[in-house]
């Protein structure tokens, strides 16, 4: 019989980095050298992380397949399992299974402008896609990253921005809902900054991830700017257990977010009931 779909690969925590007060980034190294060679994924897919003795939960791969020496996740402390993750120390053994779900359709985006719009820890779900686009930058035109957080202290991946900006035709626009002393970037909500920046929809794709309220207003702005539903892509999350469309809880209509998503275009979503 084929591999047991519920059984994780063992991995060790090799690096922990505090991003903000409640967000940490982790690097995991798969223990079995054979698995390390064959374990691959595509930007946008997710994995199930297993904290033995506590339970499992779902995270997106934070790093793309072009930087796949380790498996990386960026995790906000929000519930029982993520609290246990935040307690992990270097050398701890965890389990990983996956990859699950679909991925960002880069093959359809060749030669286009990419506009990433993220809020809060939502940037973690887009990081794999952003870094994949930067690693293969010749395939795309301008890469714009509009990122907002509650406050300057809540900005995730601060130390990655200077490397990202070094890639030709890449621009990062940062905003905080509330500014602070020394904050040299924009102040205001992401949708308002988007309106001010006024990106052209010509030959562009907008990729968004953030809290539902941000997504709602960003969608409105993008449509006002002339983006068509086909040009808007987002990634959804719902409670999941299996990752393979079997446990029955992450459906929106007949689609399972874990299996048919998590990446959807707005043209797909607008025909689905608002139950996610």
């Amino acid at each position: 019989m084929a591999e047991n779909i519920y059984k994780p690969h063992l991995a060790k925590v090799v690096e922990i980095k505090a991003e903000t007060g409640d967000i940490k980034s982790y690097k995991f190294e798969l223990q079995d050298p054979e698995v390390r060679k064959t374990f691959t994924w595509k930007a946008g897919q997710f994995l199930i992380l297993d904290i033995f003795g506590i339970g499992e939960t779902i995270f997106t791969f934070a790093n793309p397949q072009t930087r796949s020496e380790f498996v990386e996740c960026t995790i906000r402390k929000v519930g029982r399992v993520t609290e246990a993750i935040h307690e992990l120390e270097i050398g701890a053994t965890v389990g990983l299974r996956g990859p699950y779900g679909n991925w960002f359709p880069f093959d359809k985006w060749q030669g286009k402008n990419l506009l990433y719009i993220a809020g809060g820890v939502g940037l973690a779900a887009l990081r794999s896609s952003i870094e994949f686009a930067l690693d293969t930058f010749k395939d795309f035109k301008k890469k714009t990253i509009l990122y907002g957080a509650r406050s300057p202290l809540d900005i995730c991946y601060k130390d990655r921005f200077s490397d990202w900006e070094k890639v030709p035709d890449t621009e990062i626009i940062l905003t905080a809902d509330k500014g602070a002393d020394g904050w040299k970037h924009k102040v205001g909500f992401v949708p308002a900054v988007l309106k001010e920046v006024h990106p052209s929809p010509a030959d562009s794709v907008a990729i968004i991830c953030g809290p539902p309220i941000m997504i709602k207003f960003v969608l409105k702005e993008l449509l006002d700017l002339g983006f068509t539903p086909e040009q808007i892509v987002t990634t959804l999350e719902m409670r999941m257990k299996c990752g393979l469309g079997k446990c029955g809880r992450c459906n929106v209509k007949h689609l399972y977010i874990c299996k048919d998503g998590p990446v959807f275009t707005y043209s797909q979503l607008k025909d689905l009931p608002d139950e996610y």
């Binding site: 779909i5 059984k7 339970g55 499992e56 053994t93 539902p212 079997k246 446990c247 029955g248 209509k253």
Partner: protein, 340 residues
């Protein structure tokens, strides 16, 4: 090729099977409730009730299944697989229950992702089904394509009681064939008269099922009724107990949790879950896309008669009617979907 088995020999056959396999059959418990229980002798089989209180689903798809045991100590983490499932016979289930295994079996193999716990168990299980002579008012199996009191989908061996104190025995799969050849002293070849008697049995039994749903029509209605005000009131009597989902032969939704015994030992466990529970879709942080009872109620019927049909071209229901009997507030699944 069809065979005959005398009703008195069925108990003898069960006595033989018990020696080599775990045999589960309808059996009265201490409170006279008829449930699938493990037989110690063929005489324990209680064949007089149409439907057991709950299905035989839990004999293959365990209500609580240990995926693996975890030992975490200073030497690392070790995962231990559970024991291989035993050879099992489910005897005396009804065609609706047997068809339930066929339906959830497809889900457990969906998109090439094989659930090995379900698959290993069903491979080691022989399902011996008995056709329904006296369907009840809650039965509606004939609403489904191929659904009938004599349907063989999901069964390995189908027994149909005939008037002369014997049953027509039809092997549906190799596992069913193996029962007939392995215990051939209890089976003799049936003739044309008995095969004809089965057709009469079918006609008579089907006549007793008066409720027939227009399922393609209902599917079409459900396609456009997600936002219908119907759901605002339809869910009101529901107390969200989830009994309907636990007695259902096709409800398959599950949870995966960790059962920790101490700081070293734990188990990864899969258990039946219910879409009627608020926790079912509640995420860490508190967001819940189906927080209203209306949404959970709608999900149950949409899943069974709309979404599942989109994905599998068949309903997630066999018409056994157990949910109608189990519901503490008398919600009838048939009227819920007909009245949309």
């Amino acid at each position: 090729m069809a065979y005959l088995i005398i009703k008195d020999d069925i108990k003898n056959l069960l006595d033989e099977l018990i020696k080599v396999k775990a045999v589960f059959a309808p059996k009265k418990d201490a409170e006279d409730t008829v449930l699938f229980g493990k037989l110690a002798s063929g005489a324990e089989w209680y064949g007089d009730s149409l439907l057991t209180h709950t299905t035989a689903k839990d004999k293959v798809y365990l209500q609580s299944e240990t995926f693996f045991k975890i030992k975490k100590d200073k030497n690392g983490v070790f995962l231990e697989d559970p024991a291989e499932p035993a050879e099992t016979v489910i005897f005396g289930c009804r065609p609706c229950d047997a068809r339930g295994f066929d339906i959830i079996g497809k889900l457990f193999n969906w998109s090439g992702f094989v659930d090995e716990y379900y698959t290993k168990r069903i491979q080691k299980t022989t399902i011996i089904t008995i056709s329904c002579e006296k369907p009840e008012s809650t039965c509606f199996c004939t609403s489904f394509l191929n659904g009938s009191p004599v349907n063989s989908t999901g069964s390995d061996l189908l027994l149909t009681p005939l008037k002369e104190g014997s049953c027509l025995a039809e092997a549906i799969t190799a596992k069913g064939e193996a029962i007939i050849t392995g215990y051939s002293r209890y089976f003799k070849e049936a003739g044309a008269a008995e095969e004809k008697a089965k057709i009469e049995f079918k006609t008579e039994a089907e006549k007793k099922i008066t409720k027939k749903l227009d399922l393609p029509g209902i599917k079409q209605k459900l396609d456009t009724s997600f936002d219908s005000s119907y759901w605002d009131t339809a869910h009101l009597p529901c107390v969200k107990c989830g009994a309907c989902t636990f007695v259902c032969p096709t409800c398959y939704c599950f949870d995966i949790t960790e059962k920790a015994f101490d700081n070293i030992n734990s188990e990864r466990v899969r258990s039946w879950d219910t879409c009627m529970s608020e926790l079912f879709t509640r995420m860490a942080g508190g967001v819940n896309p189906r927080i209203d009872t209306k949404k959970r109620f709608r999900q149950r019927f949409m899943h069974k008669f709309n979404y599942h049909v989109d994905n599998f071209k068949e309903e997630l229901c066999t018409g056994c009617g157990r949910c109608i009997k189990a519901c503490p507030v008398s919600i009838d699944i048939r009227s819920v979907i007909e009245n949309v």
